[in-house]
């Protein structure tokens, strides 16, 4: 046993990573630890790095215990639980100097443990489990719970809380509860008897998770669709968006089924492909239901033709794009923000679309509701641009809340009574001078009938090949996009706004950016931060980029897509926009941001004066 005494205490601030083989049931053991930390009142995040595979390949789960409630990936590992022989050497290398490695010492691995700067802790997990349980499958599953027990003892997790979590999971299955509790105890007791517990990296109860939940963005978005009143979801399965529609369906089965008749107030349609999925959404939305699809980049590529139709024929629709690494099939189980330009200008011809950028699961819930209101108010497609990191990882969020007085904005839809009073209805006439026309639904009134088409049409809805008639409609659509900028969520400003350096970012970069701002502030470098929440850009975006001498645009793609969008859609001089990019597929950490800003300041003496000029 190496000497642990000299290591500095790091209470409630360390990273624990589990290296597993996928399909072995490790997820429940890992989330057991994550939830225990949360229930001890300590802020925590859980990130899953998994392969595009069903069974047998390496998978990792990373728990960041973060007393300061940072949401980003830490970028290092303090304690590695190395349970996968295949990745063992790599996992050993990843442990930060001064960190710990826990491995199954049933089989000797002495040749692979060449790290004098870390503490290696061997636990004969397989031996312990094999001596106490029968059956191959049971042993594989319970070995996970046994290492959870070891970890619990080492980091001083509250055993009562873990036992309570087990009771909640297996409450009605006594045999499963008994075997899991026993396996947990095996690991826990072994560690207590043979290892020096706790490690300097350990937990202490806090009071910082009250009023919070641990949830992933896809679940929150699916729930948001239920609260928005969506009745139809049409989709084609694709990682990492599948769990969004699964969540919607699950919540609908809970909340939308008549207990007496079994009749369902929803339809989830698994389409034959993404082309059909978006077609179904358009058909349903056109017919007055709130409908949506969930997909990822490849799906958006396929949906482009219909998105253009929806834009031009002015049909509301909501599209969730849970981004993954592209181009092409790319890395389906890794995260990226590579679809910003794709969604902003999807389809051929002159098209521009409303895009919302949630930064966390909480915003996925609220923006889901907002997306339907915007789509129906503006009669146009609305994209909600999430990503794998937000969508599939466990985030600590404030409790979701609902105002029971909320009424959805169904936009300008003429009722039978209103139609009866009209002399004649024309679909695309701008009656209110806000570039948004009135629409009608089939079956409501004979006067409401019109012909929806993607071919050239005039403001009366008739077919046209006349230049002036065509331009009148597309020019109004351009004005409608200006109207849209007034309705979309405003950007969020952090800082007084008078620093010379500005940071602009979107979506899941938020956690890394906020942490970087704290790190920089400790080094007396002060910056303002504007988080863009929507496209078209609100006027605040333009004024922010115009009023800062140097702007760093932080995003997760290779080609600086947000920066491109800013140069196209604001008045900013593009030479003032510098990019900080992270696109390798793992969630962003604060380090590249800190490094890039420090490097830029070092190269530009003019800017090094900034901290002194804005003392805090």
């Amino acid at each position: 046993m190496p000497n642990l005494i000299n290591a500095p205490d790091r209470v409630n601030d360390f990273v624990l990573k589990f290296a597993n083989v996928n399909g072995t049931g490790s997820a429940s053991a890992n989330s057991l630890i994550m939830k225990a930390v949360f229930r001890m009142g300590i802020p925590v995040t859980g990130k899953n790095y998994f392969p595009s595979n069903i069974q047998g390949l390496p998978t990792w789960y990373e728990i960041r215990v973060t007393r300061d409630a940072y949401a980003a990936r830490a970028g290092h590992v303090d304690i590695m639980v190395a349970m996968n022989a295949e990745t063992f050497a790599k996992d050993v290398r990843e442990v930060a100097s001064g960190g710990y490695l826990i491995y199954d010492s049933t089989w000797p691995r002495s040749t692979l443990l060449q790290r004098p700067d870390i503490t290696v802790i061997g636990v004969p997990l397989a031996k312990l489990v094999n001596e106490n349980f029968d059956g191959v499958r049971t042993r594989i599953l319970l070995k996970n719970i046994a290492y959870a027990g070891v970890v619990a003892a080492l980091i001083d997790a509250d055993l009562e809380i873990i036992n309570a979590l087990l009771r909640e999971s297996y409450g009605k299955k006594q045999k499963l509860l008994d075997s899991n509790s026993k396996a947990l105890r095996l690991g826990y007791d072994y560690a207590k008897q043979h290892l020096q517990c706790p490690l300097p990296l350990r937990l202490e109860h806090m009071q910082r998770t009250h009023g919070h939940i641990m949830i992933d963005g896809n679940t929150a978005a699916g729930l948001g669709c239920v609260y928005a009143g969506a009745t139809i979801g049409a989709w084609y399965p694709i990682t990492p968006s599948t769990s969004l529609m699964d969540a919607f369906k699950g919540f609908c089965e809970r909340y939308r089924v008549d207990p007496d008749t079994g009749e369902r107030n929803f339809a989830v349609i698994q389409a034959e492909d993404e082309l059909a999925a978006i077609g179904m959404v358009l058909g349903a939305s056109w017919n007055g239901a709130r409908a949506f699809t969930s997909t990822s980049g490849p799906g958006i590529s396929l949906m482009n033709e219909f998105i253009g139709l929806a834009y031009y024929a002015e049909i509301p629709c909501v599209v969730f794009d849970v981004q993954r690494v592209g181009p092409s099939t790319g890395m389906p189980t890794r995260t990226q923000q590579g679809d910003i330009m794709l969604c902003a200008y999807a389809s051929h011809g002159d098209t521009r679309h409303v895009v919302l950028f949630p930064a966390n699961p909480e915003e996925c819930f609220y923006m889901a509701v907002q997306a339907f209101d915007l789509a129906e108010r503006l009669q146009t497609p609305v994209f909600v641009l999430s990503d794998l990191d937000i969508g599939m990882n466990d985030w600590m969020c404030r409790d979701l809340q609902w105002d029971d007085a909320f009424q959805p904005d169904r936009g300008k839809v003429l009722s039978a009574e209103e139609l009866a009073r009209l002399d004649k209805f024309y679909r695309y006439v701008d009656r209110d001078d806000d570039a948004i026309p009135y629409r009608t639904l089939p079956g409501v009134h004979p006067k409401g009938a019109y012909f929806t088409r993607g071919s050239g049409h005039n403001q009366y809805g008739g077919y046209t090949e006349d230049s002036a008639e065509y331009q009148l409609v597309v020019d109004r659509l351009k004005r409608k996009f200006t109207t849209a900028a007034k309705y979309v969520p405003k950007p969020e400003l952090l800082g007084k706004g008078d620093n010379k350096i500005g940071l602009v970012s979107v979506g899941s970069c938020d956690g890394a950016v906020r942490e970087a701002i704290d790190v920089l502030a400790r080094q007396k470098i002060y910056v303002d931060y504007l988080r863009i929440k929507a496209f078209p850009f609100a006027p605040e975006v333009d004024s922010f980029v115009s009023s800062h001498a140097t702007i760093f645009v932080v995003e997760q793609n290779r080609d600086a897509q947000l920066r491109s969008l800013l140069t196209l859609e604001t008045t900013v001089d593009k030479s003032r926009l510098q990019s900080i990019l992270s696109y390798g597929g793992y969630p962003m950490s604060c380090q590249p941001i800190v490094d890039a800003i420090r490097a830029a300041l070092a190269e530009a003496p003019r800017l090094t004066a900034v901290p002194a000029m804005s003392p805090r």
């Binding site: 077609g279 179904m280 058909g283 089939p442 009938a449």
Partner: protein, 352 residues
């Protein structure tokens, strides 16, 4: 400009239906198709069928893709909402629209290019999903708007106007639909209005996906000698196997129908379709028998027409499978859809 308003002239003594509407009130805009196009005859048959069914125009939803056939949804029932979507993708629009409002009548008009090439996938899956709609294929074996290329329904050996001979086997929509378990499969000819009108009516009333393949010669690009979809060839090889007649729910079935080879099939809304078999061996309720018969006749270059197959006992219409509320989903009040804050607070316990 090919959007022409038709003058609204109606003879004062023109007959009216039960809603007091004349046939004229079921018409649409002026057709811009070539003079003599078979599609215009199908449009006229749709007008007649809707008028006879006493359909409220706003209860109808007209859907189409892209192509000559798809333009025709603009040429009937101006009082109905129309949706001219993108090429080959009408079935998905229809599926979504139907999911949102199960109470309306959905009529999709497509062509052989729209349905059998670019849109084959969507057609196949709309059949599988058994979406309640009438799906008409105006089938002429040729691409008209792009000037005469073969479509996927062109027969082997048929000659294009410019002389090229088609060598690839055709996709027959009737055999395709039968193999997929479609519950209503018919074929007709644009020149046979007497046969087409009752087929359209029965297809509309059928609770599920009703496919009607209508041979509709293209006068401009596929009406020459050597074509197997010309008027001459079609008339010569036309083989009516089953005559269908449609009897609305209020009307009693007269004695003559119940005699001989007639089979009255009751549709879900109480109306009947009366099938008179012209070939004694043929049973339109037996899917595999229907398949063999059609296939054997195709080998002899014979187009079997009529209501080829009907299955009123299938219980897999989309909303039946989905267990949808009988109230259309687009009409359920928001208050019934939102679980509220109390439910949300309770739910959050799961995430702590």
């Amino acid at each position: 400009m090919s959007f022409i308003n038709k003058p609204k002239v109606s003879h004062p003594s023109a007959p009216t239906n039960a809603l007091g509407l004349t046939r004229r009130q079921y018409e649409g805009s002026m057709s811009t198709l070539c003079a003599g196009c078979g599609h215009d005859s199908i449009t006229a048959a749709i007008v007649e069928a809707c008028w006879e069914l006493d359909m409220r125009p706003e209860q109808l939803v007209k859907l189409s893709g892209i192509g000559c056939s798809s333009k025709t949804t603009n040429y009937f029932v101006n009082g109905a909402h129309g949706f001219n979507s993108v090429h080959g993708r009408m079935p998905s629009i229809a599926s979504g629209a139907n999911a949102a409002n199960r109470d309306l009548i959905y009529v999709g008009v497509s062509g052989d290019g729209d349905s059998l090439s670019i849109g084959l996938g969507q057609l196949v899956h709309a059949i599988r999903r058994n979406v309640n709609m009438l799906y008409l294929i105006e089938n002429n074996g040729v691409y008209g708007l792009t000037k005469g290329q073969f479509s996927a329904s062109a027969d082997i050996g048929t000659r294009a106007k410019k002389g090229e001979i088609n060598q690839m086997p055709p996709i027959d929509p009737v055999l395709l639909a039968l193999s997929l378990g479609a519950t209503f499969v018919a074929r007709s000819f644009s020149g046979d209005k007497a046969q087409l009108v009752p087929l359209i009516q029965a297809g509309i009333r059928h609770q599920g996906f009703a496919l009607v393949d209508v041979l509709s010669p293209c006068v401009t690009f596929n009406d020459h000698e050597g074509s197997t979809k010309s008027y001459t060839f079609t008339r010569e090889h036309y083989h009516a196997a089953v005559e269908a007649d449609f009897v609305p729910p209020a009307q009693e079935i007269s004695v003559e129908y119940s005699q001989g080879e007639s089979i009255p099939v009751r549709l879900h809304d109480g109306s009947h379709v009366i099938l008179r078999k012209l070939a004694a061996s043929y049973d339109p309720t037996d899917r595999s028998a229907a398949y063999s018969f059609i296939e054997s006749k195709l080998k002899e270059n014979e187009y079997v027409t009529g209501l080829i197959h009907i299955n009123e006992s299938a219980n897999n219409e989309f909303h039946t499978v989905n267990k949808s509320n009988t109230v259309p989903l687009n009409r359920i009040p928001y208050g019934k859809l939102v679980p509220g804050n109390a439910a949300l607070e309770k739910l959050l316990a799961r995430y702590r």
